[in-house]
Structure formats: structure tokens, C-alpha cells
Amino acid sequence: MTDSSHTASIKERTSVFQIVSNNRYLIARRFVQVGTLLLFAAGAWWDWSILKGNLSASRLFERIFLADPFATLQIYAAGQSLAKPILLGAATVLLFYLIVGGRVFCSWVCPVNMVTDLAAWLRNKLNIKTAYQLNRNLRYLNLGLALVLSAISGYAAFEWVSPINMMHRELIFGLGMGWTAVLGLFFFDLLLVRHGWCGHLCPLGAFYSLLGRLRVWKIQFQADRCDKCGVCHKICPEPHVLKLTDLNQNGRVIAGDCTNCLRCTSVCPQKALHSSLSSPLESFKLINQKEVV
């Protein structure tokens, strides 16, 4: 990049239009997250029939059942038979996230993402250094634990302690002590572990990571454009999915942990990253190849 174009791009970025344009995906994600919450709220408060319930189970237009497949699995693990509505609902949601990518839930729907994103943003602003390192695979341990504990206790283990449920309930039904959990999570992410909850511990995120492997919607990588500046790594909440060797080999992000938040595509100064649709079979091949190599 030449000097003149660099200054030009800085000038461009200062205009309001440019700020909006640079953050268009962020705005879109917040719009979807807040919009979903508002529809749930309207269903509860004013009896709107668009979306009723919460992220664990709901009805769309009073007809289509939706259910959290992970919660459904826990209820099953707890030894309960599954009624038709949640079975149908879970299948619908499962299919949807299999196609668009499991962790699209995390960055586009889950309300806790707004809290943890704020913590991460503030952490960068205040330049808070990492206090603790956690293994990102802990979430898979939690995923296993959720199912084992459900089987042992006879209760859907994560559903009773989930900060996602608590936050949603506080927003819609209000005035309990669930805020303490959300606040605790915020400070945990802000002060202790960078991307601590969503990136390391959340079993629901882990479940959706497993679902995301064969997604159609992916971040595509153009190796010839990349100048290895590392800006995408800095902004990505799951930076291991952008490992350069993998990107070079696959030409796209195939790891299930990618949340399709699209932040990398909007910060990349070389426009080497963009999102598009690709065949799920292709990524299946890539995953298999990778394991052979």
C-alpha cells in the first residue's frame, strides 16, 4: 500500500458514512440480536404472535416450533421422553444451523454475546493484559459434563445454570437476581480471561461448534491478497480459526469455532477475506484431507 492511499483511507474512515460502512456487519449483528430480543419481549408483553418463548423453546407465528437442540438433548439425557413439539423444534433449529453454521447463533442471536463483546472491546480500550490463560477445549469438557450431569441428576444440567437463559429471562420477565450472573460474566471476561466465556467455557457454543463443521456460509481467503498484517487475528474472538497455514491450505475458514461474525472481513485492509456460500461437501473433503495430512 502506498503512502498516499494510506492517508486517503484514513481520511475516508473519519466520515460518518465510512464508519457505518466499516461496521456494517457489527450493526447487522446487533440489529438481529436486539430484534430477536424485542420480538420475544413483544410476545411476552403485548401478546404479539411473531415469536413467543425464549431461546430454549419458542413458537414462530404460533405455528412453527423452535427448540434449542442442546437443551433437548439434555432433557433426553436426564431420562425424559421427548414430546413432539420440542423434537420438531430441535430438528428445525439443528437443520438451520447445520446449513448456516452453528456458531452463527453465538454472534448473531445470543444476547450474552453483546455483553462479552462489550467486555472484549473495553478490555482492548483499557489495554488490560491477559491475567489467565484457559484452554479453549474446556468448553468441550463442559459440553460432556452437561450431558453426564444431566444423566446423573435427572435434570437438564446446563439449562438450570445457563447465563444465557438467565439474561434472557431478566430482560423479558425481569427483576430477579440473574443479573448477578451476567455481571459476573462481564467482569470475568473484562478482567480475567479474554473472550473467557464464549471462547473457552460455554457448552452451548461448543455444541454449535460441532454443528458448524459442514456449514455452507464460510469466510473465504484469497492468499494472493494477504500481506500477513495480523489485523484479523487481533479482532477475531476465535483467532485460532484464522491460522495462516490452514487458510493457505483450505482457501477458507473451515473450523467449527468460527462464528461468522464477519469482523475479519471488514477490518482486512487488503480485502483478502470475504464471506460467501460454498458446498458443504467441499469442506467435508477438506476436513478429511487435513486429517490425512
Partner: protein, 255 residues
């Protein structure tokens, strides 16, 4: 990236240790938050406590669809079993909608879809504090009786003469637990400062006689059949002459 056997064992042990620590804390949290709250009144059709808590996905749709705002979601730190539906009969009782929208709203069957007749619901049972009930004090009140949706079935009035005055009567409300749905209309309407009639979950109130008891005036045949197979055959031959001669024929009594 090859892993030596030693590293493999160490990693496995580390994972197991992390799992044990997290699992223990989680289990404690779980058992304190999913702790059954035996005094909470649940919506119509709710399965018994353990199954209800295991099945309820805490979506709040029964609460959303309750047209009388009877049902509330338990709030963390305020009520037990956060996220599950309950109601407070003194504040807003169950109006026993005929189409039972709360049961229809439940996606998991925590509210049993087989409950189609709301009059068969078993949310709880009314109990009366006879020391503070106006009717038992001899005052004229029959509000609970009048508001009951199953008047004369779930609750009726029993008349008893008032000996203190010698010319009045008590109109005492009596609950029939097999008919009472626990809707709470009576508790809501009770005019005393603290309700003298209130709804409690059945398992807190109901006793059980025991299967070996035989109530002679109810199941006549069964008694003789169970304990004296021969006597049941001779039952038909009972006559007043035989009764008068009882003392002369004591022999049969002791066989």
C-alpha cells in the same frame, strides 16, 4: 505433533481433574437451583415434582399464554426453581380456562397434554384453618363456597347447630379433595386478613389409609372375600332369627 505416552497420561489426568472440579461445583449449583419447592403451586397438568422440573425447558410460553396473568416465572433469588412457572392463588387464582392454553403452550409435556378437561386438574387442594374461618366462628360467610367453580362438588356447606346461642347454625365449608382442583378461587376470595382457606399441593396435605384397611360400610363384599372366604357364601343366609340367637350360637364366632 506426536504425543509421548507420558504426555498422554498427564493430559488425560489433567482433563479428568478439571472435569472433576468443574463437575462438582456444577453439580452443587444444579442441585441447589433445581431443588424441588414443595409448596409451589404449578400450572394445571403439571407432572409430579421431579418429572416436571426435569422436563420444563423454562421457555415461559405457558406464562405468555395465560390470559389472566395467573402464571409467573420463578425469578432467580426470589423464588425457588428459577425459570419454572408457578402461581400465587391469593394474588391471582387459576381461572380454569376450558381450552387450557397453558397446557397447549407447553412444548415438552411438562404440562401433561392428556389433561383435556380442566375440571380434572390437580394443582393442589384447599385446606381450611378452622380457627380463623369466619363460618367456623359462627359468622355468616360462605364466600369460598359461592366462588368455587365446582360448587357442591369440591366444596359444600355442612350445617351444625350453634350451641352457644341455641338458635343459630354454623355453615361450615367442607372440602372434598378428590374433586378440588386447587384453582385457588376460594383462597383469592377469602375475606379474612390472611386467607383462612388456602391451596397447598396435594402431596403436602393428603394422607393415605393403607391398603390393608377395610371400611366395612363401603366395601362389604371385599372384607369377607379377603378374610373369610367361606363366610361370604353364608352371607345370604343371614336372618333376624339368626341374629337374635347369636348368643346361643357363640360357637361360630370363635372358629
Amino acid at each position: 505433533m506426536s504425543v509421548t505416552r507420558r504426555q498422554f497420561f498427564i493430559r488425560t489426568a489433567q482433563t479428568a481433574a478439571a472435569g472433576a472440579v468443574a463437575g462438582t461445583i456444577w453439580y452443587q449449583l444444579l442441585s441447589s437451583s433445581a431443588q424441588a419447592a414443595p409448596s409451589m403451586l404449578r400450572p394445571p397438568g403439571a407432572l409430579d415434582n421431579q418429572d416436571f422440573l426435569a422436563r420444563c425447558i423454562k421457555c415461559g410460553n405457558c406464562v405468555n399464554d395465560c390470559p389472566f396473568d395467573t402464571l409467573k416465572l420463578a425469578r432467580m433469588g426470589k423464588e425457588n426453581t428459577q425459570g419454572t412457572p408457578f402461581f400465587n392463588a391469593r394474588k391471582i387464582p387459576c381461572h380454569m380456562c376450558e381450552d387450557i392454553p397453558c397446557v397447549k403452550a407447553c412444548p415438552t409435556g411438562a404440562l401433561d397434554p392428556e389433561l383435556t378437561d380442566i375440571k380434572q386438574a390437580e394443582m393442589g387442594v384447599a385446606v381450611i384453618d378452622e380457627e380463623t374461618c369466619l363460618a367456623f366462628l359462627g359468622l355468616r360467610c360462605e364466600i369460598c363456597y359461592r366462588v368455587c367453580p365446582k360448587i357442591d362438588k369440591a366444596i359444600d356447606l355442612q350445617y351444625r347447630s350453634q350451641e352457644r346461642t341455641g338458635k343459630h347454625a354454623f355453615f361450615e365449608p367442607v372440602i372434598h379433595s378428590e374433586e378440588c382442583t386447587g384453582c385457588g378461587m376460594c383462597e383469592h376470595a377469602c375475606p379474612t386478613d390472611e386467607a383462612a382457606i388456602r391451596i397447598l399441593p396435594k402431596e403436602l396435605v393428603k394422607g393415605m389409609v393403607g391398603k390393608h384397611y377395610r371400611l366395612g360400610w363401603k366395601d362389604k363384599g371385599r372384607i369377607t372375600r379377603d378374610f373369610k372366604p367361606e363366610a361370604s357364601a353364608s352371607k345370604a343366609s343371614t336372618s333376624s332369627a339368626k341374629a337374635l340367637n347369636t348368643l346361643n350360637n357363640t360357637g361360630k364366632l370363635y372358629d
